[in-house]
Amino acid sequence: MTQQTRPRALNRLKSMYALRAEVDKMYEGGGGSEEERKPVAWVMLEGWANPILNAMGIRTVYPENYSSVCAAQGLATPFMERADAEGWPSHLCGYARTCVGYSSRMVELGGEIPPEAPAGGMARPILLVGSGEVCDARFKWFQSLGRFFDAPVWTIESPSPSLRERLQEDAYERNVQFLVDELKAFVAFLEKLMGKKMDWDQLEHTGGGTTEINRLRWEINELRKARPGPMHTRDFWSAMSAALYRGAADPEGITQGHRLMYDEVKERVDRGIAGINRPEKYRLSFEGLPPWHSLGFLEQLADRGWNFVIESAYRPGRPVSIDLSKYDDPMERYVRRRYRSLDESLEEDYGPEEAEIIRKEILRDGTSRRLGLRHIREYQVDGVVLHILLSCRAASSGLNLLQQRMLDTLKVPALVIEGDIIDTSLFNPAEALRKAEAFEETMDHYRQVRKELGMPW
């Protein structure tokens, strides 16, 4: 008798593989002599620097991504231990500690890429570009690498006003001008560093190219609202690196990859095929950054019928049509293409009626209970996994409040799992799985509560 092999629980998208492979291109070309290589900048993910650097002919690599590559291959720990030995406190970001250890090892090898580095490794940088967006680590981490590299550090400053302030009449225009001036200063610095002028036409190409990629990613996510959910969060994470890190370097190729992904997801929706090869018992959202070292954990959850149909991190923004023709300044066009006013975003995301309620709540209370919950409602999830990261304040500090809001407003419960993006020692998959099993009863209970309240799912 032939034994039937049960298919894997996750039903991976074929189109994902090509996009995932794009990330390897970031690290290709790292070898060879310095003369042969294009100059390399180590950059943090934030969206402003990459198209500018690419337009200046500088190759960009992302230590945050590279650390997740190391973690996924189980190779981050020796680098982190090295960072600890160098005196970096062990509570700091796992991405940063991996990068510090990698840099230390590189210096030990006289600037060469460590032979044990996965995916070809990151080449020695001529420049480090930090960011003021998202988290504190990004202000200071690259500066602290000065012990290893004499590469200059530029930190891109960007505004992060409170919600109330963002609704002030003049705040948006002031912040646009701030960004324009700040990025022009960055360009002036790059021109000095590289000894050549900025190619503004090229910036239109690298900056504008990501718009279509974003639109496609948005459309794919819209398809993911279907029942059963056609695309699992693991495919989203595998594919996102292409858009985030390679979109400006190869807009055409990455766009084409996403067109293929859109077609495949659409076909699944039309045919009622799910992102898991099991009946979809629970629809979930993953809140926070994933444990890159233990993504196999999701396979075990999928086996129980858990379909992660959406996630909070790296979601594309709603595409909008902006008339940029009235702006002569290429940097202003560049900024306005991406930086949106809160007023407009609320209107586009929530519709005029709900946007008005949210505005009033923000002006009165400084915040709104409705924010951050839209995807829970629209994707009709039964529960969320909150991944509290022991080394990341930025991704973790808001999760407890989110948990309360989801339960109060939408009657959707959360499973809190403590772990880390990189550090395997901080994540216990067996315990997480035990908690998950118990959480199913909670999801069942709240499904009943929502039903009794007449909620749509």
Binding site: G87, W88, H91, F139, G146, E157, P161, E182, G366, L389
Partner: protein, 390 residues
């Protein structure tokens, strides 16, 4: 007959131990009290409107119980403690609160406070993190925004003379603090590290005029005293994140060491330079609050437009003031301390260590979790360090 009010160091200790008492008294008399987080909010404008600025602190002796619902345990315990006290109504006498973007969690605290504590007035300052020219312009806009918000709250505008007067008063406070710090230069120092923390915390719990009076009393008393700190083998400089309790310094000074100088934010950090009285006073205020406070939350470099970098020169531009402190206060070693999960201080540690090594100043790094109990194992570390520096 009214009880005679204590003075000088005794008064500082009283205020330190019951810091909200004066704010509550003044509030009962009709004065509005505005809490502020960290040392980046522009206090001169609060004073100019005849409001009372009152710094938010945590309480490392109080277990955090309520804040767990809002902030996970992996974030700064000081900020969690601040929120915890807010949720336990320990800040219910505040009429307003000003927060700023000190760090991610500090920035999110403003929103959480609005949501969960609900002090009537609140304003958040999005203080830039770099010293770029554009950031200075942005800081000026933040200062203007704070002025407008405070005026709306107070129901009156800030007159130019009132603002100039407030700047003068706060500059006087800065000068008085520096004068008090000079009393730590002799050996033995005339005022201890523990007493210094008490005084700084006390003046951040009083209106500026009363704080200045207290400083004058403390300076006068310390100059005359016969019961000051005794001479010890080691004189130390303390660098690091917030220390709003005397416990750590007490532990160090219970050993054979005097803490004679510090670079912390309940210490010298907010007082060692003045606000310039510029034609538009807001220019001087913006420049001071963005560029003069040397907290690691701000990215500093020798010259941000510099395409060629020299690590040691960069460190020198960022940290040579520590060498100056050690020289002027005759400190023979440096204790670096940070509350766990303070990322901004955490990333600064290797650079500070490299700098101190380059100028030959011995140093050690202590990490604590903002509880009194966690200090015990650190005592052994400090003892070991004292033995090394001999």
């Amino acid at each position: 007959m009214a009880a005679e009010q204590s003075k000088g160091l005794a008064r500082a200790r009283e205020v330190y131990l019951d810091r909200s008492r004066r704010a509550k008294e003044l509030r009962a008399e009709g004065k509005k009290v505005v809490g502020y987080l960290c040392i980046y909010p522009v206090l001169e404008m609060v004073t100019a409107l005849d409001l009372m600025p009152y710094r938010l602190f945590g309480d490392m002796r109080e277990p955090i119980t309520e804040a767990d619902s809002y902030l996970p345990t992996v974030v700064c315990p000081f900020l969690r403690s601040c929120l915890d006290l807010g949720l336990k109504d320990r800040y219910d006498f505040l009429d307003g609160i000003i927060t700023c973007h000190i760090c991610d969690v500090g920035a999110s605290l403003g929103g959480l406070w609005d949501y969960a504590v609900q002090t009537p007035f609140s304003h958040h300052l999005d203080t830039p993190h770099t010293l770029h020219e554009t950031s200075l312009k942005q800081e000026k806009a933040m200062v203007v925004g704070l002025k407008e918000a405070l005026e709306g709250f107070a129901g009156r505008t800030i007159s130019a003379p009132a603002l100039r007067n407030a700047i003068t008063l706060h500059n006087q406070q800065r000068a008085l603090v520096r004068e008090m710090y000079d009393l730590r230069k002799p050996d033995p120092p005339l005022i201890s590290g523990v007493e210094t923390v008490r005084v700084i915390k006390a003046i951040q719990s009083l209106p500026v005029q009363e704080g200045n009076q207290l400083l004058r009393e403390v300076i006068s008393e310390a100059r005359e005293r016969r019961d000051g700190p005794r001479k010890k083998s080691a004189r130390l400089l303390l660098w690091g994140s917030i220390l709003d309790d005397t416990a750590l310094v007490e532990m160090i000074e219970s050993l054979d060491a005097n803490v004679v100088m510090d670079d912390t934010c309940v210490g010298s950090r907010g007082f060692f330079s003045d606000v310039e009285l510029t034609e538009d006073p807001l220019d001087g205020l913006a420049r001071y609050y963005l560029t003069e406070i040397r907290c690691p939350r701000t990215f500093r470099s020798r010259d941000y437009m510099e395409a060629r970098k020299d690590y040691m020169k960069d460190l020198e531009s960022r940290f040579s003031y520590l060498h100056d402190y050690a020289r002027d206060w005759n400190a023979g070693g440096v204790i670096l301390e940070s509350v766990r999960y303070c990322d901004t201080h955490g990333y600064e540690v290797p650079g500070v260590e490299d700098y101190l090594d380059s100028v030959g100043l011995p140093r050690t790094y202590l990490e604590h979790d903002y509880t009194e109990g966690a200090l015990a194992p650190l005592r052994t570390r400090v003892q070991g360090f004292l033995e090394i520096i001999g």
